[in-house]
Subunit: 318 residues, 2 copies
């Protein structure tokens, strides 16, 4: 093979990290730039190219690169556009795959970050050999990538897999979500959702908890994790509550696509068994009898730092 490498780009709201990846899923080198510093998308692509050449030239230049895969918020696989991304500096519809492809001189394929994570898990992680699984990303929000019959689900318009915006609370006082809807599971089961639950408990109850000693506006899901580890009962309750709700929704997802496994990925999974145990319990309490204790729930097998790059790069091999 005369072109042995691909580029994987993980575009986040803060940082964009680009790596060179070989066919065995090793990230040979990586660079990063600050996403928010470029208010013009062309400046962003140029900066990325300039930085990328610093690692590409040493391995033989662009003629060694087969293509680019990118994971980005609100990225549409079909159109190659990033569409109305709330957390990126470029508004409206950005023809990102086209711009990248023109600048780098190789094909560029894009998808959203959760789909990229699912691709990475399928090619390099614990989902190798699995034909049917769902990846749930528990970060700032809740994202999802769905694989059915070995293929990524993009849907009619390219935006399939927005499981973070299915509803867990349909009451009038359900939490407002960034998507404009109310009661989305994202508002409960994301890292932000856990922090939100903690703040609600601290401000609206008199329960004894070490979380009360923190600046209420700055409580994070990691604070809740540390408190749980230290034996804080309220912190444990918060994870139990969060996992219960997430498990309820996972049961609905199982009824949809009957996956072999559900993978959890992202910041909140650092909470380990505190989040996993209630999720598994609640899932099995809420699925139809035929699926009870049949669907595996696992943490992603990918190294956090490389996962998004690997996942995105997987697109470039297609």
């Amino acid at each position: 093979m005369d072109k042995p490498y691909v580029l994987g780009l993980d575009m986040g709201g803060t940082n964009s990290v680009l790596g060179i990846v070989d066919a065995r899923g090793h990230v040979l080198a990586r660079i990063s730039i600050k996403t928010q510093e470029y208010t013009d998308i062309n400046d962003y692509v140029n900066a990325l190219y300039t930085e990328a050449l610093k690692i590409i030239n040493p391995i033989g230049g662009m003629e060694m690169i087969r293509g680019i895969g990118a994971g980005a918020p609100n990225a549409n696989y079909y159109s190659g556009n990033i569409e109305n991304a709330a957390n990126l500096p470029w508004k409206g519809i950005v023809p990102f795959a086209h711009l990248m492809s023109e600048k780098f001189g190789v094909p560029c394929t894009i998808t959203n970050d959760a789909n990229a994570a699912a691709m990475g898990e399928m090619m390099y992680g614990a989902a190798r050999g699995m034909k049917n699984f769902i990846m749930i990303t528990l970060g700032t929000g809740v994202g999802s990538g769905i694989v059915i019959d070995g293929r990524m689900v993009y849907g009619h318009d390219g935006f399939a897999g927005e499981l973070g915006h299915t509803k867990i609370d349909r009451s009038a006082n359900a939490r407002l979500c960034g998507c404009g809807q109310k009661g989305c599971i994202e508002t409960y089961a994301s890292a932000n959702g856990v922090a939100r639950t903690a703040k609600e408990i601290v401000s609206s109850t008199t329960k004894e908890t070490m979380l009360r000693q923190l600046d209420i506006d700055k409580i994070t899901s990691f604070d809740v994790f540390k408190a749980a580890e230290a034996g804080d009962v309220v912190a444990k309750e918060i994870f139990d509550y969060t996992g219960t709700l997430l498990g309820q929704k996972l049961a609905d997802f199982v009824a949809f696509s009957a996956p072999e496994a559900i993978f959890l990925f992202g910041g909140l999974t650092k909470s380990g068994h505190w989040i996993m145990d209630p999720v598994v319990r609640s899932l099995n309490e809420n699925v139809m009898p035929l699926w009870k204790n049949k669907v595996k729930v696992m943490f992603s097998d990918l190294k956090e730092a490389d996962a998004a790059i690997l996942g995105a790069s997987a697109l470039a091999w297609e």
Copy 2:
């Protein structure tokens, strides 16, 4: 083509109807037997064969038949088995496709009834040309068949698409479902669910409604339809309530697979706009902004009497 026809079997809890279908989706002839009369599955298959020959011999015998497709409750596409079907006389696991194939001497493929309806819609109905759609059957229960990228979703175990058993009510007093869970959308949005809602209102309120004149144990969804047509305010409320709940769940399904359209099929669709209007309103109130007023909701285009046979027969062409 030397074998121009297939057989389509629609196995219901009461009747089993088998038809000869040509490649253009015409049902040339049909026979039926009473499912419940055969407590031994071998007797059932033998009776079906004997009856079927009465219509097969006139068109040239079994050498004209390419294969058999069957839609049956709890049928597993992968294994060819009917597994633990509550409404059929045969308990446990029945190797139905194998038995049919042996008796008829042609390949037999089976799937559940909702998947069969989706296949029929895709080959012969309003979903022709559509790659991504969801079929929801609103009959005794709520079934579903999901098509993604032009392919039926069977999942890891063959039981994908049990959307009737996703939850709409997670409260302690949610309705008990036949599946053993509580609060499934099936308990509200099926024909039986509508009847259940009507009975609850008649027995627990003093609202003025013509439904009160009926034997409460015998109220059907068709009675509610007739009352709505006659201007009964409570009957309209029942459809509004039912459609609102169903639309909420459809919004969740859209977030999963981003379908081009959702088709409604089965007995309850005879209620026409009484059920359609609140479903569409509620769906659009509950989807993410990007899908608002974008997803088509339609009644199935297939003739009720032939739909299940056509859908099942579609499997035999594969």
